[in-house]
Every structure is written in structure tokens, then in C-alpha cells.
Symmetry: C2
Subunit: 338 residues, 2 copies
DNA sequence: CTGAAAGCGCTAACAT
DNA sequence: ATGTTAGCGCTTTCAG
């Protein structure tokens, strides 16, 4: 694995290593001819400046690190697409690390990335992270970091967010306007700020429309199918069914519909269902799933653009960008005429 | 962004930098006390060996690079989980790059990763890549690379694969056993080896069971919903419908079912459908989707384990691991009694 | 325009 | 057990 170094090239052409360096860095103070000659034979010899060595002497690496908690649905995949589309067009390379929803792993990932001299970081935190001190320290040292999703709005850093409370509210209100009188929310973990916010939105909407305690319920199912299915089955067994479900995400919504169907309960004729964080299949299943679409791709783009500004020191303060979503009403929440 | 270096620590304690280095590398030739003293004040000062500098002098970085073409479905997400589970337990860090299905970007990613001194690479190629020379060169130089999926079985390198032909065959044969007499295959692009293989399997199964040219068709829809939906609608309009569809993947299968439903054609009562590369929702939709499950997580694990062997030089030759899948028969391909 | 030399932060002989 | 020194491959003054 011995590779060609700057010295080899220099020796071969009887020039100094500085000249070779200059040739590659497009320096002004080098004769065009020598430059070309050097580049040519370097090419031949398969020489390429060693980025590690470059990093040791320079400040910029043109590498950006991205930390995500997971890839289980399309969410972060699209965020990453947004990030990459902006960044690669500007000549940056994007290195991704996955934290598996564990804060410790996330911290380790961030450190690895920083130590590997990324020019900046986009961090999608795992959970309402306890230990943000390290990040704050780095930011204060001047290290460019932008956060995306799952972070408190009050956190003093650059970040791009989605307003889960607001859209949880709208999704619920849509159900109310459809005339559903008893609505349950299948919620995510209370440890997760974003799903907690959806629950807040749910409760706010009910409060606004004068629902009484008997007319709604929040059931913490988490975001995975198995548990959601079990809880819905319980409700059926206990004859404790609402007229509609507001679900923490599409997977839970689909699971709910599936269990209901197994029990000969039809959506939306018997019960209405609305999902959240719309996935591609919302439009392909039957009934088509109503859901809140998050601007994932745009969030990635915004975060990348924000990071660029931070790197170029065009912004100092802690900016927060909150992007808008949309409520896509399809079949699963359209109440039959009565 | 000035950070503490080994010198600072040395100066502070009036020891040489070698001692500090030794302390951190757990070298045998250092007194326990000094070691502890150094580590303690290093801690205080916030010192941490600069990995870039370390890389310049050492060979090992304990970083592994992974290149994937995309994240659009769960496929590569699970592969990555498999890879990470093995590698992080061995003290490695996994850096991921995404090629967006473009060979050029893939090549650039690979170079970035190699130049950043990853100890090894797991490459999931984008398409039947034309230009594999660079990879071959690196492998010949002794650089540890393992390929995963979407690569010719004949390619002389370590790789882990799925036998798409075989499982395409099984999926089709299942349809035949169900008694479907006319079967169409909605195929992926012919440029993509893996989907082409599924088509091969499809054709083989039909040949084995004596289907005539009139009883089947291969329609190249690609792997995205929009086009598949349009093509299926065309078939309906032309009254050119088969008794069953063998689809290149779940998304296309779901799209097909969706279009059929819009035209009052029910699956599986009127037409059978089977998918490929099973996704989580196969079990949640109605009708539940029959599909071929690929061992994604295991493929990731195998690739990681293989890479470790290559790195430890426990293997030299070009090994190929082919993992088994399963055909999960659900509702969408169960032919009604006649 | 080009070369010599210092230095980036660290490791690894080589001394002592 | 500890210090000294020579690199690792490159960039960047500083001379000329």
C-alpha cells in the first residue's frame, strides 16, 4: 500500500517539492509550463496529494459530517439527500454516521467526525439528549454545527426544525371537523420531544373544540408496529374504541388499520385514522392514508445552507428555521355521510 | 479552534512528549504513576491525541468506510445496521457515504474514503459499474475491500450477494403452483444486474413449466411507483391483463395493486401479485403482500466479518458469500378456489 | 518563478 | 523508565 508522494514526483522531475505543491494548489507563482509538466507526470505516476497530510497543515478539508439517529424510515434518507444536493454542488463531501438512537454513540460519532477535521457538522440528535455540553463547548470554540430535528427550540444553537405541535394540532382538528366525537392518540415515547409535541398539539386541538376528558385518550404505544398492534387489539377486546385515531406516525397508523381490519372494523367507514410524517406508501395503500407531510428534503437543504453561512461566518447568532409541512387528506380520515 | 497538543501537556508536566505519547498508547515502558499523572492533567487540559496526526504516522485508523447507492427503502439501512453491529463491537467506527446511484459519485466517495485512510471499505455499487479498474487496482495493492450486492458473481473480489435469479424463480414458481396461467413480470431496468437476474429467474420458471410465449411478458417498468402505475393502467386500457404479476420489488407491487383497485380489479381474487425485497409494510397492508425477503441485516454482518478477515490477512483469495432468503407467502398471491 | 527549511501533531526507533 | 530525534506528506514563509 505504498503510495506515491510529493517527493517522488519532485525527484522524478528534478524540481523541489514546493513546486509540486504549488502546481497542485493552483498557486499564482508558478510558470504555466512547469505546472503542466508537473501535473502531467504526477498523473502518470498516480500521485494525488495525501488529504491526511494536507489536513495537518491546512484548516479546510471540504468534508462535512452528518450524524443521524437511524435510517428506519425515509425521513433521514431524504434529509441526507437534501444535504448532499447542496453540499456536493459546492465541492464538499458528506460523511455520514449513524447513532442507532443512542446518545452515547451519537457523542462518539460527533467526536470522531470532529477529530477527523470535518469543516462542519449537521447533527440530528437521537433523543432529547441530556449531555449537550460537549456540543455547546465546540460551538463556543467556533466549530460550525447545525442541528436538525429532535432538539429543543430553546437550545442556543443554529437549528432547523419542524413544528410538531402545530401539525399535530392540525391533524387532530381535521379529524374534529370530520365530525369524529371521540378521538384517541397513539403517541410516541414521552422521552422524545418531537412526539411529545404532537401529543401537545392533539390535546390543544381537543381543548379548543371543547372535548371533555371522556372524549379522548392518549395511549403511549411508541413508534413501532408490534406494540401499537397489541394496544389496539386490547382496546378492541375492552370495547374501548374511539371514532378516530390520531397516530404518531404512518407505521403506527398502518398497523392500527391492519388490526382493525382483522377485527372486521373498516377504515374509514367505522373508524377514521390519520398518520404523521408521511411516507411514500401513504398513497399506495387502501384506504389511502391521510398524513402530515414533513419537508424532509427541504430541511436537509436548509440545514446545509445554514451550515455554509456559519462556516463563512456570515452569521453568528443562533438561528432557528422552522419549516412548514402539509396535511394531506386522503381516504383514511374521510368520514362517511351519516 | 486552537486545540491542546501533546507539547502543551508535556510542557505543563515537565516531561517529554514521548512520555505523553506513551501514556496514551498504554505503552509498557512507562511508570504507572507518571502515566496516571499525565492522563489526569491531559484530561484536565482537554487534551486528546489528534487522529489526523496519528494517521500520518500509523497505519491503522479503526475507521471503516461504507459506500451505498441510496437509502430509499429499508434495504441499505439494514445492511448498515448489520455492518455497524459487528464493527462497533470490535472498536471500529463506520463512516458512510451515499452515491445517489451514480457511478461517478461512487468512485469519488471511494477515493475520499481511501484518502482519508479508512482501514477498509465495504462498497455497495451503484449500477453494473463499468469502471471497476480503480477498485481492482486498490485491491491488488492490498487495500481491503468487500463488495455487497449489485456486482457480477464473476468479479474477482471478496463479495456477499443474494441470488436474485434463484429467488425470482421461486417467486414465479409459487405463482405457477397457485394455478395462474398467464403471468407478467414488471421488471427493473436491464442495466441493473440484480433486477435482470430476477427477470432471468422469472423466465426460467416459466420455461420449466412449459409456458408458451403468449402466456407471459416482461415489462420494464423500473423500480419507481409512477412509471409502474402508468404501465399497469396501459395494460388495463388495452385489456391486456395477466392472471398474476411478479413484481421487481414491493413498491412496484403495491403500486400495481393500487392501480388495479382503482379499476375495480381485486387482488388476489381477480389477479395475484408477488413482490420482492420484502419491506416492513408487506405485513400491514391489505391484502398482505407476498414477497421475497432478503437477508439484509445478515448480508451486512457477513460483509463486515469478511472485511475483518481480509484486514487480518486471514484470507487472500476472492471469496463469494451467497446468502439465502425466504419467500413469504401472504394474501396477495393466494388464488381463490375455482 | 523556484528552492530551502520550518512546522503541523504525533509515533517510533535510538539513546541514556 | 524517560528523553532526543528523525520522520509521516504536505503547506508556507522566506530567500534568492
Amino acid at each position: 500500500m505504498k503510495s506515491v508522494t510529493i517527493k517522488d514526483v519532485a525527484k522524478r522531475l528534478n524540481v523541489s517539492i514546493s513546486s509540486v505543491s504549488r502546481a497542485f494548489n493552483n498557486s499564482y507563482d508558478i510558470k504555466k509550463e512547469t505546472r503542466e509538466r508537473i501535473l502531467r507526470t504526477a498523473q502518470e505516476m498516480g500521485y494525488y496529494p495525501n488529504p491526511i497530510a494536507q489536513k495537518l497543515t491546512q484548516k479546510k478539508t471540504f468534508n462535512i459530517g452528518v450524524v443521524v439517529p437511524e435510517f428506519i424510515n425515509e425521513y433521514y434518507s431524504e434529509v441526507i439527500r437534501g444535504i448532499q444536493d447542496i453540499l456536493t454542488s459546492l465541492g464538499y463531501q458528506v460523511l455520514i454516521m449513524q447513532s442507532d438512537n443512542k446518545h452515547e454513540r451519537e457523542l462518539k460519532n460527533v467526536k470522531t467526525l470532529i477529530h477527523n477535521m470535518m469543516d462542519g457538522l449537521i447533527i440530528c440528535p437521537s433523543v432529547k439528549s441530556k449531555n449537550m455540553d460537549y456540543y455547546l463547548d465546540e460551538i463556543n470554540k467556533g466549530y460550525p454545527i447545525v442541528f436538525l430535528n429532535r432538539i429543543e427550540q430553546s437550545f442556543p444553537a443554529n437549528k432547523v426544525l419542524f413544528n410538531n405541535t402545530k401539525w399535530g394540532f392540525f391533524a387532530t382538528e381535521h379529524l374534529i371537523y370530520q365530525g369524529y366525537k371521540k378521538i384517541y392518540h397513539l403517541s410516541g415515547s414521552n422521552d422524545l420531544g418531537i412526539t411529545k409535541d404532537r401529543t401537545q398539539g392533539f390535546i390543544k386541538a381537543l381543548a379548543k373544540h371543547g372535548f371533555s376528558k371522556d372524549d379522548y385518550k392518549v395511549i403511549e404505544t411508541g413508534i413501532l408496529p408490534e406494540n401499537a398492534m397489541a394496544r389496539v387489539q386490547e382496546l378492541i377486546d375492552n370495547k374501548d374504541l374511539p371514532e378516530a385515531f390520531m397516530c404518531v406516525n404512518d407505521l403506527v397508523a398502518l398497523s392500527t388499520i391492519s388490526v382493525l381490519r382483522q377485527n372486521q372494523i373498516e377504515v374509514p367507514n367505522d373508524i377514521g385514522v390519520v398518520g404523521f410524517t408521511e411516507t411514500k406508501i401513504a398513497d399506495l395503500v387502501s384506504p389511502k392514508l391521510s398524513s402530515v407531510k414533513q419537508p424532509t428534503y427541504e430541511m436537509g437543504k436548509s440545514a446545509a445552507e445554514m451550515l455554509m453561512k456559519v462556516i463563512k461566518k456570515e452569521t453568528m447568532s443562533s438561528n432557528t428555521i422552522i419549516l412548514n409541512g402539509s396535511l394531506n387528506i386522503r381516504e383514511s380520515s374521510i368520514r362517511a355521510n351519516q
